[in-house]
Amino acid sequence: MKLEIKNISKTYPNGIQALKDVTLSIPNGMYGLLGPNGAGKSTLMRILATLQEPDKGSIHLGELDIVRQKEEVRQTLGYLPQEFGLYPRASAEELLDHFAVLKGITNRASRKEVVAGLLRQTNLWDKRKQRLGGYSGGMRQRFGVAVALLGNPKLLIVDEPTAGLDPAERVRFLNLLSELGERSVVILSTHIVEDVSELCTNMAIINKGEILLEAQPLQAMAALKGRIWRKLIERNTLPYLEQVHQVISTKLLSGRTMVHIYSEEVPGKGFEPVEPDLEDVYFSTMAGYYSAHTEQEVAL
């Protein structure tokens, strides 16, 4: 099954164009949608999750038209929103059971089985009787995953799931997600590069409503090989350096500044080559030095 997004555009009533002619083809497996805050990720995710209407374009999940056949899509959809609340007085088991009915699992025995299974899988089994009001951020997030996984969805949409999680919770959460990619289309939107590099076999980079890059992380990193250089400089020399070189990122390191630049040739004194990681791909793309176009060039 494949998710085909064709020429989706969306403009809000206040004039902000959140998506400009977005076209993506998303295969089975984990798909990362990477972009800065405000890039249009959540808008795209909500459109995929049937919560918003695109102004233009079409989206198909296999045979299903997501824009028009919302109800059928929902029968096979799992969605973990970026931000959500829970009824604080309900217990996890109660609420998950309720959602199971809403997801169409009406047989009492199988519902019980599914709920128990999901609570175990998300490691909430021991806390199943606890009120959701007392859950930590990570537990809530995992509970959300449990809800999303109900009914064995073929399309799973996960919007910024790791924002606000502590490192340990994040690891646990990503582990959970990684298991899901095997069965269905999983789309993960994030602004954290590591989330994608650790999980996804395919990815796209989006900014200001436009898709800048659609690639496989490994290939993209390989394509950049030999073009990323770094240098440790004093902070006050940065403006000068920016005039001379194509700076893609700066990072503070022990009070000095580590600069990454994009250069197809050896940039000169003091620069050393870097093995490009996904972060370099991301920043190069954002800075406009790397695009689907260059990738194609490389592929040729």
Partner: protein, 1217 residues
């Protein structure tokens, strides 16, 4: 500075809300419109202070209801938007934070009421104002009302709303606080004030000022136009109490409120919260993070079960959503407990309100149900809380997921919109059903408390779960749809309140057709005799009609159900278009159902029947007068005999009447045409005369006919007229079905028959109505000095009467007269009645499954031979009481009362002319009786009276009163001029008082009088005409009898009865008919000259005495007797109809009484001294000597003279040792 900034920011922020401006608009519009459409009592101005006060109170009531959002929002916005971590951590003090927010809310709220006043001013001085009803501009009228009524209300209500919201952290608590205020202050206040009788407490509870408005009922027109509301007396205390409540609430809030992260709630604040909280984004008490690299997922294999989407799944989902919705309301603190508490309270306090003039009532289910099943359009009931809470919880349910923040989770589940809508509706319906179950509990508790154990559960179920629940569910669906469509919670509440307001006040807004007011119907009633009667069919038709609308609304709400991020109109419209294919069957079905039911109802109300609004009917009356008023005084023949053949078909609610009138020309000139007034659009046909006549006017629309006689009817000559009347409901009208003929308990009055000549009773009486419909001014009732009116004797004419009535087999039919014969024919029973002495043209037919109690009364020789007695009445009179078999409580005392009354009246006033005396029960809640010649009827409500053994026997008294009408009203019919009520009702009441005294004793009479005097406490204007021109109920039933009772204590019982006998002696039914002047003359004859001043004060002018005992001291003389000294104050005031008061010198005989302590087992105090003293105006000292130690003493102890303040007449005696 910070304070000012917070205030400024809040004020301006709220001004950015559309809802704030809408509220402003609502009040401006309300103020403008209401004073344009209102009709005031005569002689008061639209801008009179009292009018402004009334509408200030009305406007504040609306304000309290719909504006809880302002204070709620101001108090909780930071927490609701989760911005509080930012604001709470700024260096600002709690005082300035809370204080400024509160003051901003207060300023906004006060502005709303200022808008109300702007609306008033616009109404008075804007274009199209009715300048003739507007007095001079007076700033004080506005200022006093605003400052003493509106502003304190706004301060207190805002403080309570703000506190509730701030402490619970939820803006909705502002609304709940509003409802609590209304329930506590209005329903609580009125209950405490009127039902429990704790006046001061009740007045203090009243926040809005309804008690002040109620007091204004007692103001004279002059007062109403000039008197300003001032802070004094109870009202001052009221405002102080509410000011303290405000300060208290705010102080409590100040100390309880924390500028801190909120973890859990407890205490008072929790009272207004739902138990489930809003979103908490951060983890309050997270479990310790697992630092080991434990795997978040275990290796469990989750079964890959997919949802199945078959019809049963949707049913299961509806139930799941319904269950969750119900639980969320049921678990909130107010959800079920408020109604449960109210129900229990209503049941437990039953003894306080299930009484009639102090007489306990039987808690029969039909009576208990009347209190439990108010129509949706009634606001004078505590159960108004049910629609209000429905609005509130509909909003909560629609917004539940969104407020908890998990709407994105639920909205992406494969649940169709209709399942969500239906699920929530079912949940709300379950809540409402639970509330209605509490009503049932209230009814049962009520009956238990009243020691009534015949629980008619079946009737309860039908009335509560069949009828009342249907109404509530229709309403619940409407408000749910409103909340879905409006898609803004507070705006949704406002719209819902406005729609509810429209339902409440639609008739006042001139919208009367039940098809136009959501959920309305033609009304229903349950009676033991008639069951639900014929009204249930139109009720059901209207409910089906509204159910069709509800279905359509439901489909529309489903189409526009919001389940996406965007609530914009175009998106929703777009989505609705997408969803439409799924509803392409249901939507047309819903529309078709609406169309069919519209057609059905319209066919019934407007085509089968003639739809007329109140204005139409007034217009018809005006037109009737304009067209035919010219015939008012033309000579017409008198009706001397009526013969009727009546077929009653109880089960079809139909009757067919064949009638024959014998008409005699008693005038001195020949009559050339016969005029008839008939009920408009009644099936009257077959009018023929026994001589050639041709119709000239046949106006069925206004109900007037003129037939010209070929040969004129010579004086003394007679003719016969035949007619037939068909009573048969054609479908139903907007009023329902005429309930005269029911399965059991039919009652057909003589009003159905054609009336000879012009019918002056149809005249518009109110001066302003006459003006509006372009009629010349005319007094409501002809003046006492109108000599011509005394010659209008049509209502006093007697006739012979004969009727054959057929009814269904099991029933007994009754009409006036002796029962000549009964027989059965064709499965129907027939009864033939004929009178043995002539009766007035006022009669009725009855038919029901009656039980009959029969008794005899044997006449004593009459003291006076005034009435021309046909020989037969020397025989005993048969008393027959026809009653519903289960309603037998009062039958024996009714028989006794009838016997005692006939005894006393024949002895004192003359013989009873008929051989029968009948009393019949008929369906209905009324508690009184209605008299017709030889027949008295009463509604079932009378049979509920269940006097305590030693208590007031009101049924006995009422019966005696109605029997007295056989003399006062039927034998003697006064001229239809001012004061006629004195001759009919006052004399009947006074006569009945004599019967009560003679049979039940003087003590019982005093009990009766003290109960009747309670009516003094109802605020009433002192401005009134003198008793001789009595024109209202109070004068006829209270002041008149009191005056005669007082007179009797001055001149003696016999003298008064002599005067009454004199009146009867001189009476003949031929004109001129007697007036109160004749009575006055008789009374003057019987009264010594020295007391003529008293007659004048009691009857000729509207006099009030102000008698007060300031202090009483006593000391024992050497002889052992006691010398009592009273310091008394006496004044006398005459008040005219406009309210002008004139102090007149007092030189009157007034009773002075001295009493000893009540001995054991004695009901009355022992009288030591009771003598009349001649008193002057001003303070004076009176000294009397009594044999024993006195306890109480004072002036006019028996309240013979009219003194509105009766509490200061008597004082405890201070004994000087």
């Amino acid at each position: 500075m910070k304070f000012w900034e917070i205030f400024r920011f809040e004020f301006r922020y709220q001004l950015r809300h559309v809802s704030t401006w809408l509220l402003f608009a609502v009040f401006l519009l309300f103020g403008f419109v209401v004073l344009r459409i209102v009709t005031l009592a005569d002689n008061t101005y639209l801008n009179a202070p009292s009018t402004i006060a009334f509408f200030t109170v009305f406007g504040s009531a609306i304000w309290v209801m719909i504006s809880g959002v302002v204070a709620g929002d101001a108090a909780t916005r930071d927490r609701q938007t989760r911005m509080h971590p930012l604001t709470y951590t700024t260096p600002l003090s709690k005082l300035s934070y809370l204080g400024a927010r509160f003051l901003a809310a207060l300023a906004l709220n006060a502005s709303m009421l200022l808008m109300l006043y702007a609306g008033f001013l616009l109404s008075f001085y804007g274009p199209g104002a009715k300048t003739q009803y507007i007095g001079a501009f007076r700033l004080g009228s506005y200022l006093t009302n605003f400052c003493f009524l509106a502003l304190p209300t706004v301060i207190a209500a805002t403080a309570v709303q703000f506190s509730a919201a701030a402490l619970s952290g939820r803006a909705i608590a502002g609304y709940i606080a509003s409802i609590a205020i209304i329930i506590f202050s209005q329903f609580g206040g009125t209950t405490v004030r009127y039902m429990l009788g704790w006046k001061v407490l009740g007045s203090l509870m009243d926040l809005l000022g309804t008690s002040v408005v109620a007091e204004m009922e007692g103001w004279t027109p002059i007062d109403k136009n000039t008197r300003l509301i001032v802070l004094e007396g109870t009202w001052l205390w009221n405002r102080l109490v509410w000011f303290c409540i405000s300060i208290g609430a705010l102080t409590y809030t100040y100390f309880r409120f924390r500028l801190a992260h909120i973890i859990s709630k407890s205490g008072l604040s929790g009272l207004f919260t739902r138990r489930s909280d809003a979103v908490r984004s951060a983890s309050p008490s997270a479990s310790a993070p697992c630092l080991t690299a434990c795997n978040a997922t275990s290796a469990t294999e989750v079964p890959g079960i997919r949802g199945s989407f078959v019809p049963s799944t949707y049913v299961r989902q509806v139930l799941a959503v319904a269950g969750a919705s119900f639980r969320s309301v049921a678990m909130s603190r107010g959800g079920l407990t408020l109604i449960a508490a109210l129900a229990i309270g209503t049941g437990l306090f039953a003894a306080e309100y299930m009484e009639f003039y102090g007489v306990p009532l039987l808690a029969r289910t039909q009576e208990v149900l009347r209190g439990l099943t108010p129509p949706l359009s009634s606001y004078q009931t505590q159960w108004i809380i049910i629609p209000l809470l429905t609005i509130l919880y509909a909003g909560e349910l629609v917004w539940r997921e969104r407020e908890a923040g998990l709407h994105e989770l639920t909205d992406t589940t494969p649940v169709p919109e209709w399942v969500m809508f239906l699920g929530k509706f079912t949940g709300l319906a379950l809540v409402v059903t639970t509330w209605v179950a509490f009503l049932l509990v209230a009814g049962i508790i009520n009956q238990l408390v009243m020691d009534y154990y015949h629980f008619e559960i079946g009737v309860y179920l039908k009335a509560l779960f069949g009828i009342q629940l249907t109404d509530y569910l229709l309403f619940a669906l409407l408000v749910l749809v409103i909340h879905v469509l409006v898609n803004q919670k507070y705006l949704g509440h406002m719209v819902a309140f406005c729609v509810y307001g429209f339902i409440l006040f639609s008739s006042r807004l001139g919208v009367e057709h039940n098809m136009l007011v959501y959920g309305s119907d033609t009304g229903w009633a349950y009676s033991d005799m008639a069951g639900f009667g014929p009204l249930i069919k139109p009720w059901l038709s209207f409910k089906l009609y509204w159910a069709a609308w509800a279905f359509l609304l439901g489909v529309v709400a489903t189409l526009f159900w919001v389940r996406s991020k965007e609530g914009g109109f175009s998106t929703r419209f777009h989505l609705a278009q997408h969803r439409f294919p799924k509803h392409k069957v249901t939507l047309p079905i819903a529309m078709a159902l609406v169309l069919v039911s519209v057609g059905f109802i319209f066919y019934n109300t407007n085509i089968l029947n003639n739809y007329t609004s109140t204005a139409d009917r007034m217009g018809m009356r005006a037109e009737y007068e304009r067209r035919y008023g010219q015939y008012e005084n033309i000579p017409q023949p008198a009706l001397v005999s009526t013969k009727l053949q009546v077929e009653i078909y109880p089960d079809d609610h139909a009757a067919a009447i064949q009638g024959r009138y014998q008409l005699v020309n008693r005038s001195k000139a020949p009559i050339d045409s016969i005029h008839l007034s008939t009920i408009p659009h009644l099936g009257i046909s077959g009018i023929t005369f026994d001589r050639a006549a041709s119709p000239v006017v046949l106006d069925d629309h206004l109900g007037y006919r003129i037939y010209t006689l070929k040969k004129r009817l010579a004086p003394g000559d007679s003719l016969q007229m035949s007619f037939s009347v068909q009573i048969k409901p054609r479908g139903f009208s907007n009023e329902g079905v005429d309930a005269s003929i029911v399965a059991n308990g039919s009652y057909i009055e003589s009003d159905w028959m054609p009336v000879i000549g012009y019918n002056g009773d149809r005249r518009l009486r109110e001066a302003r109505d006459r003006e509006r419909y372009g009629l010349a001014p005319r007094q409501a009732r002809p003046s006492l000095d109108d000599m011509a009116a005394r010659y209008d004797a049509r209502h006093a004419e007697h006739m012979d009467f004969e009727a054959v009535i057929g009814t269904s087999k099991g029933q007994v039919a009754v009409a006036p007269g002796v029962l000549r014969r009964t027989w059965t024919k064709g499965g129907r029973r027939y009864f033939h009645y004929a009178t043995d002495a002539p009766i007035l043209n006022e009669y009725a037919f009855f038919s029901a499954n009656y039980a009959v109690r029969e008794a005899q009364w044997v006449p004593q020789p009459s003291r006076t031979k005034l009435i021309q007695v046909p020989e037969r009445t020397a025989k005993p009179v048969t008393i027959q009481i026809f009653y519903h078999p289960a309603h037998d409580t009062n039958i024996e005392r009714m028989v006794k009362s009838a016997q005692a009354s006939l005894d006393y009246y024949t002895r004192e006033f003359g013989a009873y002319p008929y051989s029968h005396f009948r009393v019949l029960e008929r369906p209905g809640p009324g508690r009184g009786m209605h008299a017709a010649p030889m027949t008295i009827d009463y509604q079932e409500g009378y049979s509920l009276m269940n006097p305590k053994p030693a208590g007031l026997d009101l049924p006995y008294h009422i019966m005696a009163h109605e029997v007295a009408h056989q003399w006062w009203g039927f034998y003697l019919s006064p001229a239809a001029v001012e004061g006629s009520g004195l001759l009919v009702e006052s004399l009947a009441t006074y006569a009945a008082m004599q019967v009560v005294e003679e049979t039940l004793g003087y003590e019982h009479l005093l009990l009766y009088l003290s109960q009747m005097r309670e009516e003094y406490e109802v605020p009433r204007s002192r401005a009134a005409p003198p008793l001789l021109r009595a024109n209202n109920r109070f004068m006829n039933y209270r002041k008149g009898p009191f005056a005669l009772f007082a007179l009797r204590h001055y001149i003696g019982k016999d003298k008064v009865n002599n005067a009454l006998r004199g009146l009867l002696r001189d009476y003949t039914p031929s004109p001129p008919l007697p007036t109160t002047l004749d009575l006055y003359q008789e009374l003057q004859t019987q009264t010594p000259d020295s007391l003529h001043y008293l007659l004048r004060d009691l009857f000729e002018q509207n006099t009030f005495w102000e008698l007060e005992t300031e202090q009483v001291t006593a000391k024992q003389t050497k002889a052992g007797s006691w010398e009592v000294t009273l310091d008394v104050q006496a004044r006398k005031v005459v008040v005219d109809s406009a309210g002008t008061e004139t102090l007149i010198p007092l030189d009157d005989w007034v009773e002075i009484g001295v009493y000893a302590t009540t001995a054991e087992g004695e009901a009355l105090e022992k009288t030591l001294y009771l003598q009349k003293h001649r008193l002057k105006s001003a303070k004076q000292r009176i000294t009397v000597t009594v044999p024993y130690e006195p306890a109480r003493a004072g002036i006019d102890p028996n309240h013979l003279l009219i003194d509105l303040n009766m509490t200061d007449n008597m004082e405890e005696v201070k004994v000087a040792r």
